[in-house]
């Protein structure tokens, strides 16, 4: 790890002032990803600004009937919060599908949004990587890319964004509350992460001197018909090959609203309004879900080793939507896929 200066922020304004005064400084809360990347020499911040003691650790009701989740709420506390378990079980399930119990205890909600790709070439400082070292090239395009993107990739970068939590947040239509030097703003979670294009080193639309202060969940939690299915190379504690967040509102067997987001396939959680709207008013059947899957996977394209992910995604979408429709969500402890 490189030598760095350490500052403990006294409040949000202080953290932003410290960020603003040093372009190479980084915020640290849980540190689960940042410390790892510093040990690999991928991240070399001049200064760490410790925000772990700021009062951003509450989960509160919003006036609109949703929840406002403070940026520093640990992932485990969010997953096990009674309001989240009851009203947003899709989010609880997705969080529990990710990382390990120890890491979930450490990792903050905002840090989960800020985590970087697990592309092996991004981690390996001996190889070219446009995300780590802009303009150096992409080693994954002609390399080991079994786990890489099938949607939204560019010739510069085929990395995937690894969060499970954010796949559920995308499906639920969450908002990200941001504070910066000129005040506060909020953007949709879906607009928070970027596609790589020719600037894959920029993961998010967060400004250089901005920080996340909260995540807001809208009132609709899809608490009856939902499922989060994560397909990976081992049964636990592995990043997704494909993950699917599915949520439905049903009137009888007819779908009044559908939400569908994919993880492990792109530089951000992947949603398609066209796919979701195709299900409105339709019966909750495998055929209709397969049609929605085809719409969501429109434009999918494989690299040299990950062609299987396109068909795997299609099947996983149908399976997860059927689990949601039958109110039989995937368990994250009992691994048999119903």
């Amino acid at each position: 790890m490189n030598n760095f200066q350490y500052s403990r922020a006294t409040d949000v304004a202080d953290a932003i002032r410290l960020l603003n005064s040093d372009p190479d400084a980084k915020l640290i809360a849980g540190g689960t990803n940042l410390i790892d990347l510093m040990k690999e020499n991928v991240e070399r911040p001049s200064r760490l600004i410790d925000i772990s003691r700021l009062p951003l650790g509450k989960i509160e009701e919003t006036a609109q009937g949703g929840l406002r989740i403070g940026a520093l709420v640990p992932n485990s506390d969010l997953a096990y919060h009674p309001q989240v378990e009851q009203r947003y079980p899709l989010l609880a399930s997705a969080i529990l599908a990710g990382a390990s119990a120890q890491l979930r205890n450490m990792a903050s909600v905002a840090g989960n949004l800020m985590q970087r790709t697990r592309c092996a070439y991004f981690y390996d400082t001996a190889t070219p990587c446009n995300k780590r070292s802009p303009g150096s090239g992409c080693s994954a395009v002609g390399g080991h890319n079994r786990n890489h993107a099938i949607l939204g990739a560019s010739p510069s970068c085929i990395a995937t964004y690894p969060s499970d939590m954010c796949v559920a947040l995308a499906a639920l239509g969450a908002l990200v509350h941001i504070a910066g030097p000129t005040g506060e703003r909020r953007i949709a979670l879906e607009d928070f992460h970027r596609l790589p294009g020719d600037t894959p080193h920029i993961d998010t639309n967060l400004g250089a001197s901005e920080m996340i202060i909260a995540i807001e969940l809208p009132p609709g939690g899809f608490s009856r018909n939902y499922s989060y299915l994560k397909v990976r190379d081992r049964l636990s504690y592995a990043f997704a090959l494909i993950s699917v967040a599915a949520a439905l509102n049903l009137e009888g067997n007819a779908i009044s609203e559908a939400r569908l987001a994919l993880g492990g396939v792109a530089h951000k959680p992947w949603r398609s309004l066209e796919a979701e709207q195709s299900l409105r008013g339709r019966a909750a059947t495998a055929d209709h879900f397969a049609h929605a899957a085809d719409l969501l996977l429109q434009g999918a394209s494989a690299a040299s080793h990950n062609r299987f992910k396109i068909e795997l995604a299609r099947r996983a979408i149908v399976r997860t939507m059927m689990q949601a429709a039958s109110a039989a969500p995937q368990s994250q402890a009992h691994k048999k896929i119903a």
């Binding site: 490189n2 030598n3 040990k39 070399r44 390990s100 119990a101 120890q102």
Partner: protein, 163 residues
């Protein structure tokens, strides 16, 4: 990528309450909790395995919650209560998990065992695991290269008082 800072900052005073004893340290800010325990306090019960949060050998309890000490900066935990494997036994009595690991032969080489036991102590405190499947899932952050998993699950079930 940022250029490295060549200015080495002052060491920072850090107080940790380790197994009930207040310990005052002066640490460089990049010292992990794991290195503070092993190299500065000479408490080598907590093991360094992968040093990247992938194996769980470094698991300790911080304010009662299990964490990977290799991915925790000591300075951030200034003032925290740390429980390591050295702090689980009370007087001459082994912690129920320590006894259960012996009863079930829940190790072979033993290198992962301090992390397994501290992680299991965190699991019991969380109260979320109710059966073997849930124990396996919620212990998945602790790897055992010897493959003692079935006996580890049995030991935790014994300490939990559940079949």
């Amino acid at each position: 990528m940022a250029q490295p800072s060549h200015q080495v900052p002052e060491r920072i005073p850090v107080t940790l309450v380790v197994n009930g004893t207040k310990r005052d340290l002066d640490l460089a800010p990049w010292t992990t909790l794991l290195d503070a325990l092993r190299d500065h306090l000479n408490m080598t019960g907590t093991k360094k395995g992968c040093d990247h949060g992938q194996c769980g050998a470094c698991t300790v309890l911080v304010n009662g919650r299990r964490v990977n000490s290799c991915l925790t900066l000591a300075v951030i935990k200034d003032g925290a209560e740390i429980t390591t494997i050295e702090g689980l036994a009370k007087d001459d009595a082994l912690h129920p998990l320590q006894q259960a690991f012996i009863d079930h032969d829940a190790f072979q080489c033993g290198y992962c065992t301090p992390g397994q036991i501290c992680s299991a102590a965190g699991l019991l405190a969380e109260g979320r695991a109710k059966n073997a499947d849930e124990i396996r899932e919620l212990m998945s952050g602790n790897l055992c290269r010897c493959g003692a998993y079935p006996n580890i699950v049995a030991a935790i079930q014994q300490a939990m008082g559940r079949p």
